[in-house]
Symmetry: D3
Subunit: 273 residues, 6 copies
Amino acid sequence: MFYTDNKLQYPVRVDAPNPLFARALQQAIGGVEGEIRVAMQYFFQACGARGNPKFRDLLMNTAAEELGHIEMLATAVALNLEGAPLSLQEQMEKDAAIGAVMGGLNLKNLLSSGLSAMPVDSDGVPFDMSHIYASGNIAADMTANIAAESTGRTLAVRLYNMTDDAGMKDMLQYLIARDTMHQNQWLAALEELGGFAAFPIPNSHPQTEEKGEFSYTYLGFHADGSAPAQGRWSEGPSIDGKGQFTSGTLTPSPAVPDLGKAKPNSGAQTEQM
Amino acid sequence: MFYTDNKLQYPVRVDAPNPLFARALQQAIGGVEGEIRVAMQYFFQACGARGNPKFRDLLMNTAAEELGHIEMLATAVALNLEGAPLSLQEQMEKDAAIGAVMGGLNLKNLLSSGLSAMPVDSDGVPFDMSHIYASGNIAADMTANIAAESTGRTLAVRLYNMTDDAGMKDMLQYLIARDTMHQNQWLAALEELGGFAAFPIPNSHPQTEEKGEFSYTYLGFHADGSAPAQGRWSEGPSIDGKGQFTSGTLTPSPAVPDLGKAKPNSGAQTEQM
Amino acid sequence: MFYTDNKLQYPVRVDAPNPLFARALQQAIGGVEGEIRVAMQYFFQACGARGNPKFRDLLMNTAAEELGHIEMLATAVALNLEGAPLSLQEQMEKDAAIGAVMGGLNLKNLLSSGLSAMPVDSDGVPFDMSHIYASGNIAADMTANIAAESTGRTLAVRLYNMTDDAGMKDMLQYLIARDTMHQNQWLAALEELGGFAAFPIPNSHPQTEEKGEFSYTYLGFHADGSAPAQGRWSEGPSIDGKGQFTSGTLTPSPAVPDLGKAKPNSGAQTEQM
Amino acid sequence: MFYTDNKLQYPVRVDAPNPLFARALQQAIGGVEGEIRVAMQYFFQACGARGNPKFRDLLMNTAAEELGHIEMLATAVALNLEGAPLSLQEQMEKDAAIGAVMGGLNLKNLLSSGLSAMPVDSDGVPFDMSHIYASGNIAADMTANIAAESTGRTLAVRLYNMTDDAGMKDMLQYLIARDTMHQNQWLAALEELGGFAAFPIPNSHPQTEEKGEFSYTYLGFHADGSAPAQGRWSEGPSIDGKGQFTSGTLTPSPAVPDLGKAKPNSGAQTEQM
Amino acid sequence: MFYTDNKLQYPVRVDAPNPLFARALQQAIGGVEGEIRVAMQYFFQACGARGNPKFRDLLMNTAAEELGHIEMLATAVALNLEGAPLSLQEQMEKDAAIGAVMGGLNLKNLLSSGLSAMPVDSDGVPFDMSHIYASGNIAADMTANIAAESTGRTLAVRLYNMTDDAGMKDMLQYLIARDTMHQNQWLAALEELGGFAAFPIPNSHPQTEEKGEFSYTYLGFHADGSAPAQGRWSEGPSIDGKGQFTSGTLTPSPAVPDLGKAKPNSGAQTEQM
Amino acid sequence: MFYTDNKLQYPVRVDAPNPLFARALQQAIGGVEGEIRVAMQYFFQACGARGNPKFRDLLMNTAAEELGHIEMLATAVALNLEGAPLSLQEQMEKDAAIGAVMGGLNLKNLLSSGLSAMPVDSDGVPFDMSHIYASGNIAADMTANIAAESTGRTLAVRLYNMTDDAGMKDMLQYLIARDTMHQNQWLAALEELGGFAAFPIPNSHPQTEEKGEFSYTYLGFHADGSAPAQGRWSEGPSIDGKGQFTSGTLTPSPAVPDLGKAKPNSGAQTEQM
């Protein structure tokens, strides 16, 4: 169950409204690396968490935090859009730099939402909830969360480098710090689940049931049969501690795949039957 | 540049065609945990890899392998569909169990592709290439790959548990083993990039520019102010080795967010201006 | 800013787990009439609300409520999925009715989320955030909210009629009641904005700038020129009180639309130039 | 059954082709507030209309009108694109204002459709037919139509404010007038269905089966327990005339949601079982 | 401009309502091979047609026909859904064959549209207007139309084979005949544009500007350098009459692709710079 | 099974990096006319090919070629992005032409992928695999391939006309030549399947089962009953050689479509029952 108040987690201040930066900030709302993604991902992972209840609490608590981040960014987008021109004639004739602003906007931020934020990315593409990874396997979920926060902080850093607005930089310094924490937090949760020993995920599947000769071998697929670049992945103990890396090539299955003829009445051409 | 042959990496054999299992296998082709996703993700990460060229090679080589996995699964889907009824009258009257098969199919596997595989998931939803995470940050890419292989192997194990067809179980034992390797492989690549010291990602951003007091604190968002569940994430050294976990609460920003009045000509109601 | 606790708004009890009903409930989570839609719609409308701040509060407060509804439904889905078979062999041979269950599932609820809820609809299609209508016009937003709650309550009633599980019926009686309130609530907010006099939306556009002869005329497009069915929409005062309904036909523009020839270098065929 | 001719409903004239305005107009074709949406929504509502046949006629007749609106706008887009540059070298060196045009285009209007309209929005996102709300409940459909025309007219007004092309302004004055009529028309249809007494929708569900104590109460979800902003929605008779608005808070369900342990063979981690 | 009447092009009769066949018919409405696709494709091609105006007329006239096909199919879906159960208890206990029906439905046809057709495919996936191919090149458009009618007739034949309902078979015999005509019609239009001599499309591009040594050579990409299967495509005059087919292999570009180092401030890892 | 090497099929050279052209090139990667589409379409057609195995070989061999085209284009995008500004302050003040560049970028090429290619189109919309047409009918597949290469070459020509970079022009001359070959190649494959005699597709359906009086008649749908423009499609032998073109009008079905009343418990309004 959720509650709200009329406050923001951290001050959102825009010194010089910049509609192009509003467009860029949309990526942090509705991009696949954005805050809707993490808020909803932690929410659904929490709702489906089975086993130790502290993970449900950890996930839902963080989902609440991320909802507040969407709110901060949506406020920042609206404040940056305050400077957007509303008509083509305001700009095209006098000033090409302002002209670039109109052309550079997500026009939906003007036409659909009236100078407000939308759940879309920086090119106006709506967020698609298939990006909510909630696998029912708590360790797999943690890897998805580490990935989400890694791409999320990368995005926040790029936004930080893109602007020289002191208010926006201050807000992003807060969000970057929280991404630092969240990367560490999910790494810590994975450590509680065994760390590297949690791999291969899912650990509930008996490894005796997999084809062991392929489990720790780096296979080469170079057309000329040459070995691909070697590295930590081709020798030494495997990271999960359960095998030894080797490298090699594959003997393909000798049979050529053949589906035979098409069934009558299946809508194929006569020549296929 | 890519090459092919007329072979499969590993034999694909279906002892008793099962159209419902064909539907389930579609998830491993066109689901977000499936093989199109990893093939294309490694492909695009390779195409955008900057820095040490061995990562490009590692990624493109593995992309080639994954393309072959799609091919194996597509063959398995087509072979399982061989047993599908082509008409409602074949089944509805005589045998309810067969009736369940027709109802349980992805009908597109029959109507759109004529008993062949499609780039869709187990509910017939087409794969959307926004799931290709290729961030331009090689460490973030590795976390995305670890996550992809973790959910991928979880899916393969679920498919393995779902069938008792010996041919299909054999094929899945191969694919599960390769997922074991790939989880380890990307963990190994991350180790080459510094392991935990690669965090927070991106490591090129100076941490002095983030709000340090929020970087390693587990914040609580319980409505009654009670502390959320504690764990490895709330005390001890941070996993990246650059801070100390603490836990606490947040003092919200005192100002209520206020966008003020709507601009004239912005399409708002008069009452908003 | 958002807060959570470890509770549900209303008890969620499933007496007899039914995986098919789990699939149906998914529509109330990730369908276009579902709870993600309203939660996010009110959230984004709140974030972009300009003018009287009480609307921001009304919207954000209700967004918090709807987040709790997603949580309830996600719990209900997971509880209903407890009875799902995990393998085809568990069922196909012995019992066709159980067979129908496996065929009737969203397979992703099994394969992707491990018997948990997902942000998808009853056919496994992920929710697409383009359904978040937040127009920047507060009256237009209210009409969108009335529509959302009308289709939402229709869905809830259909789910209620579909099940005979006492626990599920009890939960749905709560959700149906809240939809009753929310329909009334947005109608009330529209009344505060002037009720019918708020139309035509946006009311900030001077009606003198529209082609008045077309503003209150019900035009017929029957091929034989016969009048379409008449009703309240073809006579009497208009509902907005600003005109008089009439009915009639249209004199088309005499000119045939003609784009002329294609430009050289535009990639057209030579014959088009 | 549909018929066509070689005419337009209303003249479409572009005095000074403006490719940026072509992009903006795309929102009125393929945006969620656009004409494809209403044409197809009324079409499908008509096809599924049960009960009094005059509603089928009303809906299909209006669908025919809206198809003609798409045609007008598509012509307007093509005419505005006549001025678009076809090469980067035409512009980048000489004139930054023209440079802004190329950058500001939906490039697909050039690359995919050769200077013609497409069924996409102003940011190039294709229209998705999930936006066709046709619920099988005629009153719910009317609320969806009122909402569609409210956001549609808001969009048309924004486009009108954006351009100073006399031809385009004239065309938009026609479309804005038709939106005025259509808002009123659907309000009138709703009046025929009982007006406010049609609520709560669906009215066929006996309200005795809902939890009446929640049906007309405005619940507060402020974290500190303070009352949210009061208004018409928190006191007085409900708009549907069937209850009395009150306001209050909720006693959450005491039980903490708990899904227990994961099932064996469900692909979870061992720690969850 | 469009007109309608209250009639159907051809009688739609369902002798024995079959909800599973309703689901299958949805593919012919909202599938990528379905009638929305062709109706909208011809509509947008017409709106963007430049050059000889008879093509605009041909396209728009056929668009009108296809709109009527959607209407017929939507009626057929609704009539077939008349037999659908509305509750799980109606069926699960008594009759597994009926149970299969509920599981086999697109649940949205029940939950979202109240036993009516929707613009979705047979697995409930909404139609996405990116499938409207309207290239601005009239010959390319004709090839897209031939392809659309070829897959469309294949679908109609599969539906015909799936049912034994005399009414449905009769309706499909009409639709199959129209697809026969439409395949021929677009082939005929292509013949007017030069037939094979229209290729390569676009014919306005001077072939002297392409690398002629690659224009008519069938290149082999077999990993072992063996020649791929030969056929009409590897010898004899090319179909466009402008070259001679040969076959051969490719000498790759000697340089290894190398993007060099990542730029500072681009969000990459330090190791990439 | 697939193999790779570290080479490109043809040199990719960018003389003057142009971020706007990078955006345009994205259409050739992730647009519906782009290389992902053909690579995956030929791949899936190959995997589902039944009948003469040489078609599987032809398709898979060409899929391998097209994967290499994606690689070339992805390299070209990354090289063109080298010149992109990373911050708004780099440009807005000094130079409006550079300002247009930032506004004209797909911002995701900067924010999501760090100056690398993505599987999206020129407006940042991700490729959706529903565009992979693989029908199970080999002749229908060939028509889809001819269409894909026709729109593909049209796109390549437009890109060629857009740039004056000698390196890019050289690369596009190669790709245009390959599209010439591929158009011819699929036409040749269709010739092997009977050429025009393969129509109507599927040829396995007995034409005696369709309503022959509608199979070769060009029907008019002009509202005033006038004949639509005549052409090769309205007289002479049909292109498939199996009929004679005529033209005419249609006598609609006399019955008005009528779904009757809504079922109780179906969620309709009481007035519909």
